[in-house]
Protein backbone atom coordinates (compact mmCIF):
# COMPACT_ATOMS: atom_id res chain seq x y z
CA UNK A 1 0.00 0.00 0.00
CA UNK A 2 1.45 3.33 -1.11
CA UNK A 3 0.10 6.62 0.23
CA UNK A 4 0.99 9.82 -1.57
CA UNK A 5 0.06 13.34 -0.58
CA UNK A 6 1.09 16.73 0.66
CA UNK A 7 2.46 17.15 4.17
CA UNK A 8 0.73 19.16 6.89
CA UNK A 9 3.09 19.76 9.76
CA UNK A 10 2.10 20.10 13.43
CA UNK A 11 4.05 20.26 16.69
CA UNK A 12 4.23 18.18 19.86
CA UNK A 13 1.40 16.97 22.09
CA UNK A 14 -1.48 17.31 19.61
CA UNK A 15 -4.27 15.92 21.78
CA UNK A 16 -7.48 14.19 20.79
CA UNK A 17 -9.23 17.34 22.04
CA UNK A 18 -7.39 19.23 19.28
CA UNK A 19 -8.19 16.57 16.69
CA UNK A 20 -11.89 16.39 17.50
CA UNK A 21 -13.23 18.38 20.47
CA UNK A 22 -15.28 16.26 22.89
CA UNK A 23 -18.34 18.44 22.46
CA UNK A 24 -19.04 17.07 18.98
CA UNK A 25 -18.57 13.37 19.59
CA UNK A 26 -21.42 12.89 22.05
CA UNK A 27 -24.06 13.81 19.49
CA UNK A 28 -23.51 11.57 16.49
CA UNK A 29 -21.72 8.63 14.93
CA UNK A 30 -21.76 10.33 11.52
CA UNK A 31 -18.03 10.60 10.83
CA UNK A 32 -18.48 12.57 7.61
CA UNK A 33 -20.20 15.22 9.70
CA UNK A 34 -17.56 15.01 12.45
CA UNK A 35 -14.75 15.15 9.86
CA UNK A 36 -15.66 18.81 9.16
CA UNK A 37 -14.16 19.54 12.60
CA UNK A 38 -10.95 17.55 12.08
CA UNK A 39 -7.96 19.29 13.74
CA UNK A 40 -10.23 22.20 14.64
CA UNK A 41 -8.31 22.79 17.87
CA UNK A 42 -5.09 23.65 15.98
CA UNK A 43 -6.29 24.67 12.51
CA UNK A 44 -10.01 25.37 12.07
CA UNK A 45 -9.58 25.45 8.26
CA UNK A 46 -7.85 22.06 8.09
CA UNK A 47 -10.77 20.00 6.81
CA UNK A 48 -11.34 22.46 3.94
CA UNK A 49 -7.69 22.65 2.99
CA UNK A 50 -6.67 19.02 2.77
CA UNK A 51 -6.97 16.72 -0.23
CA UNK A 52 -7.45 12.94 -0.03
CA UNK A 53 -4.18 11.19 0.70
CA UNK A 54 -2.53 14.15 2.41
CA UNK A 55 -0.25 13.29 5.31
CA UNK A 56 -0.05 14.77 8.80
CA UNK A 57 3.52 15.08 10.04
CA UNK A 58 3.70 15.72 13.78
CA UNK A 59 6.11 15.89 16.66
CA UNK A 60 6.08 13.91 19.88
CA UNK A 61 3.06 12.35 21.60
CA UNK A 62 0.52 12.77 18.77
CA UNK A 63 -3.01 11.86 19.90
CA UNK A 64 -2.46 12.22 23.62
CA UNK A 65 -5.41 12.58 25.95
CA UNK A 66 -8.82 10.98 25.65
CA UNK A 67 -9.26 7.43 24.34
CA UNK A 68 -11.79 8.65 21.77
CA UNK A 69 -11.42 6.62 18.62
CA UNK A 70 -13.31 9.40 16.94
CA UNK A 71 -9.92 11.10 16.57
CA UNK A 72 -8.36 8.68 14.04
CA UNK A 73 -11.81 8.09 12.52
CA UNK A 74 -12.34 11.79 11.70
CA UNK A 75 -8.83 12.12 10.29
CA UNK A 76 -9.48 9.14 8.05
CA UNK A 77 -12.87 10.48 6.97
CA UNK A 78 -11.39 13.94 6.38
CA UNK A 79 -9.10 12.29 3.83
CA UNK A 80 -5.86 12.02 5.79
CA UNK A 81 -3.84 9.22 4.20
CA UNK A 82 -1.41 8.68 7.06
CA UNK A 83 -0.06 10.28 10.21
CA UNK A 84 3.70 10.33 10.61
CA UNK A 85 4.95 11.37 14.05
CA UNK A 86 8.05 11.35 16.19
CA UNK A 87 5.96 9.37 18.68
CA UNK A 88 2.31 8.55 19.37
CA UNK A 89 0.26 8.34 22.54
CA UNK A 90 -0.43 4.64 23.00
CA UNK A 91 -4.24 4.60 22.81
CA UNK A 92 -4.26 6.73 19.66
CA UNK A 93 -1.71 4.42 18.05
CA UNK A 94 -3.81 1.33 18.76
CA UNK A 95 -6.96 3.11 17.64
CA UNK A 96 -5.41 4.31 14.39
CA UNK A 97 -4.43 0.79 13.40
CA UNK A 98 -7.81 -0.59 14.47
CA UNK A 99 -9.64 1.88 12.21
CA UNK A 100 -7.18 1.49 9.35
CA UNK A 101 -5.46 4.86 9.57
CA UNK A 102 -1.73 4.37 8.93
CA UNK A 103 0.31 5.65 11.89
CA UNK A 104 4.03 5.72 11.22
CA UNK A 105 6.69 6.39 13.85
CA UNK A 106 9.45 8.29 12.04
CA UNK A 107 11.29 11.11 13.89
CA UNK A 108 13.60 11.74 10.94
CA UNK A 109 10.68 12.44 8.59
CA UNK A 110 9.58 15.16 10.98
CA UNK A 111 13.00 16.77 10.89
CA UNK A 112 13.26 16.94 7.07
CA UNK A 113 9.65 17.73 6.15
CA UNK A 114 7.99 21.12 5.69
CA UNK A 115 4.29 21.77 5.14
CA UNK A 116 3.51 21.35 1.44
CA UNK A 117 6.24 18.81 0.71
CA UNK A 118 5.03 15.79 -1.24
CA UNK A 119 5.41 12.56 0.70
CA UNK A 120 5.08 8.95 -0.25
CA UNK A 121 4.60 6.23 2.38
CA UNK A 122 5.20 2.59 1.53
CA UNK A 123 3.36 0.99 4.41
CA UNK A 124 4.34 -2.63 3.94
CA UNK A 125 8.03 -1.74 3.75
CA UNK A 126 7.79 1.02 6.34
CA UNK A 127 9.50 3.51 4.05
CA UNK A 128 8.77 7.25 4.01
CA UNK A 129 9.90 9.24 0.98
CA UNK A 130 9.96 13.01 0.91
CA UNK A 131 9.76 13.54 -2.87
CA UNK A 132 10.20 17.31 -2.58
CA UNK A 133 13.41 17.01 -0.56
CA UNK A 134 14.41 13.76 -2.29
CA UNK A 135 15.02 11.86 0.93
CA UNK A 136 14.09 8.27 1.74
CA UNK A 137 13.76 7.20 5.36
CA UNK A 138 13.16 3.80 6.96
CA UNK A 139 10.56 4.10 9.75
CA UNK A 140 10.32 2.09 12.96
CA UNK A 141 8.91 -1.31 12.02
CA UNK A 142 5.47 -2.33 13.24
CA UNK A 143 4.74 -5.82 14.63
CA UNK A 144 3.52 -8.06 11.78
CA UNK A 145 0.04 -8.67 13.15
CA UNK A 146 -0.57 -4.93 13.48
CA UNK A 147 0.64 -4.30 9.94
CA UNK A 148 -1.76 -6.99 8.77
CA UNK A 149 -4.72 -5.33 10.52
CA UNK A 150 -3.73 -2.04 8.92
CA UNK A 151 -3.27 -3.44 5.43
CA UNK A 152 -6.68 -5.09 5.57
CA UNK A 153 -8.33 -1.77 6.41
CA UNK A 154 -8.81 -2.09 10.17
CA UNK A 155 -9.97 -4.54 12.79
CA UNK A 156 -13.59 -4.70 11.61
CA UNK A 157 -12.49 -5.56 8.08
CA UNK A 158 -9.95 -8.05 9.43
CA UNK A 159 -12.58 -9.84 11.49
CA UNK A 160 -15.11 -9.81 8.64
CA UNK A 161 -12.53 -11.57 6.47
CA UNK A 162 -10.94 -14.03 8.91
CA UNK A 163 -13.77 -14.56 11.44
CA UNK A 164 -11.26 -14.38 14.25
CA UNK A 165 -9.01 -11.77 15.85
CA UNK A 166 -5.27 -11.89 15.21
CA UNK A 167 -4.46 -12.61 18.88
CA UNK A 168 -6.99 -15.44 19.27
Amino acid sequence: MIIKGRAWKFGNNISTDHIIPGKYKFKTLDFNELARHAMEGVDPEFSRKIRPGDVIVAGRNFGCGSSREHAPQVLKHAGVGAVIAKSFARIFYRNAINVGLPAVICPQAYEVTSTGDVLEVDLARGVVRNLTKQVEIQSKPMPDFLLKILLEGGLVEYYQKHKRFPWE
Binding site: G22, F26, G41, L155, Y159, W167
Partner: protein, 418 residues
Amino acid sequence: MEGQTLAEKILSKKLGRKVAPGEIVALQVDIAMAHDGTAPLAIQQFRRMGLTRVWDSKRVVLVIDHVAPSSNEGTSELHSMIREFAREHSITVYDVGEGICHQLLPEKGHVYPGAIIVGADSHTCTHGAFAAFATGIGSTEMAAVLGSGKIWFMVPESLKVVITGKPRRNVTAKDIILHIIGELGADGATYMAVEFTGDAVKEMSIDSRMTLTNMAVEMGAKTGLIASDERTLEYLRGRTSVLTGTITPDSNASYADELTVEAGRLEPVVACPHNVDNVKGVSEVEGTPVDQVFIGSCTNGRLEDLRVVARVLKNRRVKARTIVMPASREVYLKALQEGIIETLVKAGCAVGVPGCGPCVGGHHGIPGPNENVVATINRNFKGRMGNSKANIYLASPLVAAYAALYGKIVYPERGVDA
Protein backbone atom coordinates in the same frame (compact mmCIF):
# COMPACT_ATOMS: atom_id res chain seq x y z
CA MET B 1 15.94 -15.15 40.35
CA GLU B 2 15.09 -11.64 39.23
CA GLY B 3 12.02 -10.23 40.91
CA GLN B 4 8.97 -8.71 39.28
CA THR B 5 7.40 -5.28 39.28
CA LEU B 6 3.76 -4.98 40.21
CA ALA B 7 2.66 -4.90 36.56
CA GLU B 8 4.77 -7.94 35.66
CA LYS B 9 3.47 -9.79 38.70
CA ILE B 10 -0.19 -9.19 37.87
CA LEU B 11 0.25 -10.16 34.21
CA SER B 12 2.31 -13.25 35.09
CA LYS B 13 -0.27 -14.36 37.62
CA LYS B 14 -3.01 -13.97 35.06
CA LEU B 15 -1.14 -15.90 32.36
CA GLY B 16 0.26 -18.57 34.67
CA ARG B 17 3.82 -17.95 33.45
CA LYS B 18 6.51 -15.37 33.90
CA VAL B 19 6.34 -12.45 31.47
CA ALA B 20 9.02 -9.92 30.55
CA PRO B 21 8.73 -6.29 29.38
CA GLY B 22 8.43 -5.95 25.61
CA GLU B 23 6.71 -9.30 25.17
CA ILE B 24 3.34 -9.24 23.38
CA VAL B 25 0.68 -11.27 25.18
CA ALA B 26 -3.00 -12.10 24.70
CA LEU B 27 -4.93 -11.71 27.93
CA GLN B 28 -8.32 -12.79 29.19
CA VAL B 29 -10.16 -9.66 30.36
CA ASP B 30 -11.89 -9.63 33.76
CA ILE B 31 -13.92 -6.43 33.39
CA ALA B 32 -14.73 -4.37 30.28
CA MET B 33 -16.26 -0.91 30.57
CA ALA B 34 -17.53 1.64 28.07
CA HIS B 35 -19.47 4.87 28.55
CA ASP B 36 -21.75 7.12 26.55
CA GLY B 37 -18.79 8.77 24.80
CA THR B 38 -17.40 5.46 23.52
CA ALA B 39 -19.99 2.67 23.85
CA PRO B 40 -22.19 3.69 20.89
CA LEU B 41 -19.24 3.37 18.48
CA ALA B 42 -18.21 0.09 20.13
CA ILE B 43 -21.74 -1.26 19.65
CA GLN B 44 -21.74 -0.13 16.01
CA GLN B 45 -18.38 -1.83 15.38
CA PHE B 46 -19.54 -4.99 17.24
CA ARG B 47 -22.46 -5.18 14.80
CA ARG B 48 -20.32 -4.41 11.75
CA MET B 49 -18.03 -7.27 12.70
CA GLY B 50 -21.08 -9.51 12.54
CA LEU B 51 -20.80 -10.39 16.24
CA THR B 52 -24.02 -11.32 17.97
CA ARG B 53 -23.01 -12.58 21.41
CA VAL B 54 -21.17 -10.85 24.25
CA TRP B 55 -18.48 -13.14 25.69
CA ASP B 56 -19.64 -12.73 29.31
CA SER B 57 -22.34 -10.19 30.07
CA LYS B 58 -21.52 -10.22 33.81
CA ARG B 59 -18.06 -8.89 33.06
CA VAL B 60 -19.28 -5.93 31.01
CA VAL B 61 -20.32 -2.61 32.53
CA LEU B 62 -21.83 0.31 30.61
CA VAL B 63 -22.05 3.76 32.16
CA ILE B 64 -23.92 6.89 31.09
CA ASP B 65 -21.86 9.64 32.68
CA HIS B 66 -20.28 11.93 30.09
CA VAL B 67 -23.39 13.80 28.98
CA ALA B 68 -25.75 12.85 31.76
CA PRO B 69 -28.53 13.81 31.70
CA SER B 70 -28.61 14.24 27.94
CA SER B 71 -28.75 17.78 26.59
CA ASN B 72 -29.89 17.13 23.02
CA GLU B 73 -31.69 14.70 20.75
CA GLY B 74 -28.54 13.24 19.16
CA THR B 75 -27.08 12.32 22.54
CA SER B 76 -30.41 10.90 23.70
CA GLU B 77 -30.44 8.60 20.67
CA LEU B 78 -26.96 7.35 21.54
CA HIS B 79 -28.04 6.79 25.16
CA SER B 80 -31.02 4.77 23.92
CA MET B 81 -28.68 2.71 21.77
CA ILE B 82 -26.65 1.83 24.90
CA ARG B 83 -29.72 0.91 26.95
CA GLU B 84 -31.14 -1.28 24.17
CA PHE B 85 -27.84 -3.11 23.66
CA ALA B 86 -27.59 -3.68 27.42
CA ARG B 87 -31.13 -5.05 27.57
CA GLU B 88 -30.49 -7.32 24.60
CA HIS B 89 -27.32 -8.78 26.18
CA SER B 90 -28.28 -8.57 29.90
CA ILE B 91 -25.50 -6.09 30.69
CA THR B 92 -25.47 -3.78 33.72
CA VAL B 93 -25.96 -0.11 32.89
CA TYR B 94 -25.23 2.59 35.45
CA ASP B 95 -27.53 5.27 34.13
CA VAL B 96 -27.85 9.05 34.54
CA GLY B 97 -27.08 10.19 38.08
CA GLU B 98 -25.20 7.11 39.26
CA GLY B 99 -21.88 8.80 38.70
CA ILE B 100 -18.56 8.62 36.87
CA CYS B 101 -17.46 5.24 35.51
CA HIS B 102 -14.09 5.21 37.29
CA GLN B 103 -15.73 5.94 40.63
CA LEU B 104 -18.51 3.41 40.09
CA LEU B 105 -16.34 0.45 39.11
CA PRO B 106 -14.63 0.18 42.52
CA GLU B 107 -17.69 1.36 44.47
CA LYS B 108 -19.92 -1.26 42.91
CA GLY B 109 -17.42 -4.08 43.38
CA HIS B 110 -16.09 -4.55 39.84
CA VAL B 111 -12.47 -3.87 40.80
CA TYR B 112 -10.13 -6.12 42.79
CA PRO B 113 -6.39 -6.66 43.10
CA GLY B 114 -5.03 -8.62 40.15
CA ALA B 115 -8.01 -7.94 37.85
CA ILE B 116 -7.41 -7.18 34.17
CA ILE B 117 -9.65 -4.23 33.38
CA VAL B 118 -10.05 -2.52 30.03
CA GLY B 119 -12.17 0.55 29.61
CA ALA B 120 -13.03 2.59 26.57
CA ASP B 121 -11.78 5.64 28.44
CA SER B 122 -8.23 6.81 28.97
CA HIS B 123 -8.63 7.26 32.73
CA THR B 124 -9.32 3.55 33.21
CA CYS B 125 -5.81 3.51 34.72
CA THR B 126 -7.46 4.86 37.90
CA HIS B 127 -8.19 1.28 39.01
CA GLY B 128 -4.50 0.64 39.43
CA ALA B 129 -5.04 2.22 42.86
CA PHE B 130 -6.43 -1.20 43.79
CA ALA B 131 -3.55 -3.15 42.18
CA ALA B 132 -5.69 -4.01 39.16
CA PHE B 133 -4.01 -3.88 35.73
CA ALA B 134 -6.31 -1.37 34.11
CA THR B 135 -5.92 0.60 30.91
CA GLY B 136 -7.80 2.56 28.30
CA ILE B 137 -8.64 1.28 24.81
CA GLY B 138 -10.69 2.52 21.86
CA SER B 139 -14.17 1.57 20.73
CA THR B 140 -13.29 -0.87 17.94
CA GLU B 141 -10.98 -2.73 20.28
CA MET B 142 -13.76 -2.71 22.87
CA ALA B 143 -16.04 -4.33 20.28
CA ALA B 144 -13.43 -7.09 19.88
CA VAL B 145 -13.27 -7.53 23.67
CA LEU B 146 -17.06 -7.67 23.89
CA GLY B 147 -17.02 -10.49 21.37
CA SER B 148 -13.96 -12.43 22.46
CA GLY B 149 -13.09 -11.45 26.04
CA LYS B 150 -9.50 -11.15 24.95
CA ILE B 151 -7.02 -8.41 24.13
CA TRP B 152 -3.34 -8.08 23.20
CA PHE B 153 -0.86 -6.07 25.21
CA MET B 154 2.81 -5.41 25.15
CA VAL B 155 4.07 -6.11 28.68
CA PRO B 156 5.10 -2.62 29.79
CA GLU B 157 8.37 -1.55 31.32
CA SER B 158 7.82 -0.19 34.81
CA LEU B 159 8.71 3.23 36.14
CA LYS B 160 8.98 3.41 39.92
CA VAL B 161 7.86 6.62 41.59
CA VAL B 162 8.77 6.68 45.27
CA ILE B 163 6.89 9.31 47.29
CA THR B 164 8.33 9.81 50.74
CA GLY B 165 7.68 11.92 53.80
CA LYS B 166 4.75 13.91 55.07
CA PRO B 167 3.31 16.55 52.77
CA ARG B 168 2.46 19.97 54.14
CA ARG B 169 -1.13 20.56 55.14
CA ASN B 170 -1.88 22.43 51.91
CA VAL B 171 -0.32 19.83 49.60
CA THR B 172 -2.58 17.06 48.36
CA ALA B 173 -2.29 13.99 46.13
CA LYS B 174 -3.26 16.26 43.21
CA ASP B 175 -0.30 18.56 43.84
CA ILE B 176 1.99 15.53 44.06
CA ILE B 177 0.83 13.99 40.77
CA LEU B 178 0.90 17.36 38.96
CA HIS B 179 4.43 17.86 40.24
CA ILE B 180 5.43 14.41 38.92
CA ILE B 181 3.87 15.10 35.50
CA GLY B 182 5.66 18.45 35.40
CA GLU B 183 8.94 16.65 36.08
CA LEU B 184 8.46 13.79 33.62
CA GLY B 185 6.51 15.61 30.89
CA ALA B 186 3.34 14.73 29.01
CA ASP B 187 5.03 11.75 27.35
CA GLY B 188 7.56 10.95 30.06
CA ALA B 189 6.06 7.55 30.83
CA THR B 190 4.66 6.57 27.43
CA TYR B 191 3.78 2.85 27.21
CA MET B 192 5.00 2.30 30.78
CA ALA B 193 3.38 1.10 33.97
CA VAL B 194 3.97 3.74 36.64
CA GLU B 195 4.23 2.16 40.06
CA PHE B 196 3.61 4.58 42.93
CA THR B 197 5.22 3.52 46.17
CA GLY B 198 6.80 4.91 49.34
CA ASP B 199 5.59 5.74 52.84
CA ALA B 200 3.57 8.73 51.65
CA VAL B 201 1.53 6.47 49.35
CA LYS B 202 0.99 3.95 52.16
CA GLU B 203 -0.39 6.77 54.32
CA MET B 204 -2.74 7.98 51.60
CA SER B 205 -6.47 7.36 51.65
CA ILE B 206 -8.05 5.38 48.83
CA ASP B 207 -9.53 8.63 47.50
CA SER B 208 -6.04 10.15 47.23
CA ARG B 209 -4.47 7.04 45.75
CA MET B 210 -7.10 7.13 42.99
CA THR B 211 -6.09 10.73 42.21
CA LEU B 212 -2.50 9.56 41.68
CA THR B 213 -3.26 6.61 39.41
CA ASN B 214 -5.98 8.52 37.55
CA MET B 215 -3.45 10.93 36.09
CA ALA B 216 -0.82 8.34 35.08
CA VAL B 217 -2.16 8.59 31.52
CA GLU B 218 -1.33 12.31 31.47
CA MET B 219 2.33 11.34 31.19
CA GLY B 220 1.51 8.74 28.56
CA ALA B 221 1.48 5.71 30.85
CA LYS B 222 -0.32 2.50 30.04
CA THR B 223 -1.38 2.30 33.66
CA GLY B 224 -0.64 3.58 37.15
CA LEU B 225 -0.34 1.03 39.92
CA ILE B 226 -0.24 0.91 43.69
CA ALA B 227 0.39 -2.30 45.64
CA SER B 228 -2.66 -3.41 47.56
CA ASP B 229 -2.58 -3.38 51.35
CA GLU B 230 -4.94 -3.60 54.31
CA ARG B 231 -6.42 -0.21 53.38
CA THR B 232 -7.27 -1.47 49.89
CA LEU B 233 -8.93 -4.58 51.25
CA GLU B 234 -10.82 -2.58 53.85
CA TYR B 235 -12.33 -0.45 51.06
CA LEU B 236 -13.18 -3.41 48.88
CA ARG B 237 -14.61 -5.72 51.55
CA GLY B 238 -18.35 -5.88 51.26
CA ARG B 239 -18.13 -4.50 47.71
CA THR B 240 -16.53 -7.38 45.82
CA SER B 241 -16.53 -11.10 46.47
CA VAL B 242 -13.26 -11.59 44.57
CA LEU B 243 -10.62 -10.87 47.19
CA THR B 244 -7.64 -13.16 47.21
CA GLY B 245 -5.28 -11.07 49.35
CA THR B 246 -2.85 -8.34 48.52
CA ILE B 247 -0.48 -8.02 45.55
CA THR B 248 2.92 -6.41 45.99
CA PRO B 249 6.02 -6.17 43.78
CA ASP B 250 9.18 -8.11 44.60
CA SER B 251 11.85 -6.15 46.45
CA ASN B 252 14.44 -7.13 43.81
CA ALA B 253 12.28 -6.15 40.82
CA SER B 254 13.98 -4.26 38.02
CA TYR B 255 12.62 -0.93 36.87
CA ALA B 256 13.31 0.98 33.67
CA ASP B 257 13.67 4.13 35.74
CA GLU B 258 13.06 5.51 39.19
CA LEU B 259 11.96 8.91 40.48
CA THR B 260 11.92 9.93 44.13
CA VAL B 261 9.62 12.68 45.33
CA GLU B 262 10.06 14.18 48.78
CA ALA B 263 6.47 15.12 49.53
CA GLY B 264 7.45 17.38 52.44
CA ARG B 265 9.32 19.71 50.08
CA LEU B 266 6.43 20.27 47.69
CA GLU B 267 4.24 23.35 47.44
CA PRO B 268 0.72 23.61 46.07
CA VAL B 269 0.85 23.75 42.26
CA VAL B 270 -1.35 24.33 39.22
CA ALA B 271 -1.04 23.08 35.64
CA CYS B 272 -1.32 26.23 33.53
CA PRO B 273 -2.93 26.47 30.08
CA HIS B 274 -2.81 24.53 27.78
CA ASN B 275 -0.78 21.48 28.76
CA VAL B 276 -0.93 19.22 31.78
CA ASP B 277 2.85 19.31 32.17
CA ASN B 278 2.92 23.13 32.28
CA VAL B 279 3.11 22.97 36.07
CA LYS B 280 3.88 26.02 38.20
CA GLY B 281 3.85 26.78 41.91
CA VAL B 282 0.65 28.53 43.00
CA SER B 283 2.78 31.44 44.26
CA GLU B 284 3.99 32.05 40.68
CA VAL B 285 0.47 32.64 39.34
CA GLU B 286 -1.11 34.18 42.42
CA GLY B 287 -3.60 36.91 41.60
CA THR B 288 -4.69 35.45 38.26
CA PRO B 289 -8.40 36.36 37.99
CA VAL B 290 -10.75 33.37 37.97
CA ASP B 291 -14.20 33.40 36.37
CA GLN B 292 -15.26 29.81 36.94
CA VAL B 293 -14.31 27.01 39.30
CA PHE B 294 -15.22 23.40 38.75
CA ILE B 295 -14.89 20.85 41.53
CA GLY B 296 -15.50 17.26 40.52
CA SER B 297 -14.40 14.61 37.97
CA CYS B 298 -12.81 11.17 38.26
CA THR B 299 -9.67 12.90 39.53
CA ASN B 300 -11.12 14.91 42.40
CA GLY B 301 -14.86 14.47 42.88
CA ARG B 302 -14.69 12.19 45.91
CA LEU B 303 -15.83 12.69 49.51
CA GLU B 304 -12.38 13.69 50.74
CA ASP B 305 -12.23 16.39 48.03
CA LEU B 306 -15.67 17.78 48.84
CA ARG B 307 -14.78 17.85 52.56
CA VAL B 308 -11.80 20.10 51.85
CA VAL B 309 -13.91 22.49 49.77
CA ALA B 310 -16.63 22.63 52.45
CA ARG B 311 -14.01 23.34 55.12
CA VAL B 312 -12.80 26.37 53.16
CA LEU B 313 -16.22 27.66 52.14
CA LYS B 314 -18.09 27.16 55.41
CA ASN B 315 -20.03 30.33 56.33
CA ARG B 316 -18.40 32.18 53.44
CA ARG B 317 -19.48 33.18 49.99
CA VAL B 318 -17.80 32.36 46.65
CA LYS B 319 -16.71 35.19 44.33
CA ALA B 320 -16.22 33.01 41.23
CA ARG B 321 -18.97 31.00 39.54
CA THR B 322 -18.51 27.60 41.18
CA ILE B 323 -19.84 24.28 39.97
CA VAL B 324 -19.56 21.16 42.09
CA MET B 325 -20.37 17.65 40.90
CA PRO B 326 -19.90 14.69 43.24
CA ALA B 327 -18.25 11.73 41.53
CA SER B 328 -21.10 9.35 42.33
CA ARG B 329 -24.46 8.94 43.99
CA GLU B 330 -22.70 7.33 46.96
CA VAL B 331 -20.35 10.31 47.32
CA TYR B 332 -23.32 12.69 46.95
CA LEU B 333 -25.32 10.92 49.64
CA LYS B 334 -22.43 10.86 52.12
CA ALA B 335 -21.75 14.53 51.39
CA LEU B 336 -25.42 15.27 52.10
CA GLN B 337 -25.31 13.34 55.35
CA GLU B 338 -22.19 15.19 56.47
CA GLY B 339 -23.74 18.58 55.73
CA ILE B 340 -21.20 19.29 52.98
CA ILE B 341 -23.78 19.90 50.29
CA GLU B 342 -25.65 22.36 52.49
CA THR B 343 -22.42 24.23 53.19
CA LEU B 344 -21.59 24.40 49.49
CA VAL B 345 -25.07 25.50 48.42
CA LYS B 346 -25.15 28.20 51.12
CA ALA B 347 -21.72 29.39 49.94
CA GLY B 348 -23.18 29.97 46.48
CA CYS B 349 -21.99 26.84 44.64
CA ALA B 350 -24.09 25.24 41.92
CA VAL B 351 -24.22 21.57 42.85
CA GLY B 352 -25.01 19.22 39.99
CA VAL B 353 -25.84 15.64 39.09
CA PRO B 354 -23.03 13.09 39.69
CA GLY B 355 -21.19 12.58 36.40
CA CYS B 356 -18.34 13.98 34.32
CA GLY B 357 -20.04 17.35 33.88
CA PRO B 358 -17.97 20.32 32.69
CA CYS B 359 -14.74 18.29 32.53
CA VAL B 360 -15.44 17.13 28.97
CA GLY B 361 -17.37 20.14 27.72
CA GLY B 362 -20.17 17.90 26.59
CA HIS B 363 -23.26 19.48 27.98
CA HIS B 364 -22.92 22.14 30.64
CA GLY B 365 -20.59 24.40 32.53
CA ILE B 366 -18.89 25.49 29.33
CA PRO B 367 -16.74 28.56 30.05
CA GLY B 368 -17.00 31.78 28.02
CA PRO B 369 -14.32 33.12 25.66
CA ASN B 370 -11.14 34.33 27.40
CA GLU B 371 -12.45 33.16 30.76
CA ASN B 372 -10.06 31.65 33.28
CA VAL B 373 -11.17 28.42 34.88
CA VAL B 374 -9.70 26.63 37.86
CA ALA B 375 -10.77 23.01 37.77
CA THR B 376 -9.93 19.90 39.78
CA ILE B 377 -9.95 17.84 36.57
CA ASN B 378 -7.14 16.08 34.68
CA ARG B 379 -6.78 17.92 31.35
CA ASN B 380 -6.43 21.53 30.29
CA PHE B 381 -6.04 21.16 26.53
CA LYS B 382 -7.56 23.89 24.38
CA GLY B 383 -11.24 23.16 24.00
CA ARG B 384 -11.29 20.52 26.73
CA MET B 385 -14.19 22.11 28.59
CA GLY B 386 -16.04 23.01 25.39
CA ASN B 387 -14.52 26.39 24.52
CA SER B 388 -11.12 26.59 22.87
CA LYS B 389 -10.85 30.26 23.88
CA ALA B 390 -10.98 29.51 27.62
CA ASN B 391 -7.91 29.02 29.83
CA ILE B 392 -7.96 26.05 32.18
CA TYR B 393 -5.80 25.77 35.29
CA LEU B 394 -5.71 22.30 36.88
CA ALA B 395 -5.56 22.34 40.65
CA SER B 396 -6.30 20.50 43.88
CA PRO B 397 -9.69 20.90 45.55
CA LEU B 398 -8.01 23.12 48.16
CA VAL B 399 -6.52 25.51 45.59
CA ALA B 400 -9.84 25.45 43.68
CA ALA B 401 -11.80 26.28 46.83
CA TYR B 402 -9.55 29.29 47.49
CA ALA B 403 -9.96 30.39 43.87
CA ALA B 404 -13.72 30.14 44.29
CA LEU B 405 -13.65 32.15 47.51
CA TYR B 406 -11.48 35.00 46.25
CA GLY B 407 -12.26 35.02 42.52
CA LYS B 408 -8.54 34.72 41.81
CA ILE B 409 -5.74 32.25 42.30
CA VAL B 410 -4.60 32.48 45.91
CA TYR B 411 -1.94 30.53 47.81
CA PRO B 412 -4.00 28.36 50.17
CA GLU B 413 -3.64 28.40 53.94
CA ARG B 414 -0.62 30.66 54.09
CA GLY B 415 0.76 30.63 57.58
CA VAL B 416 -0.72 27.28 58.44
CA ASP B 417 1.14 25.41 55.70
CA ALA B 418 4.01 24.11 57.86
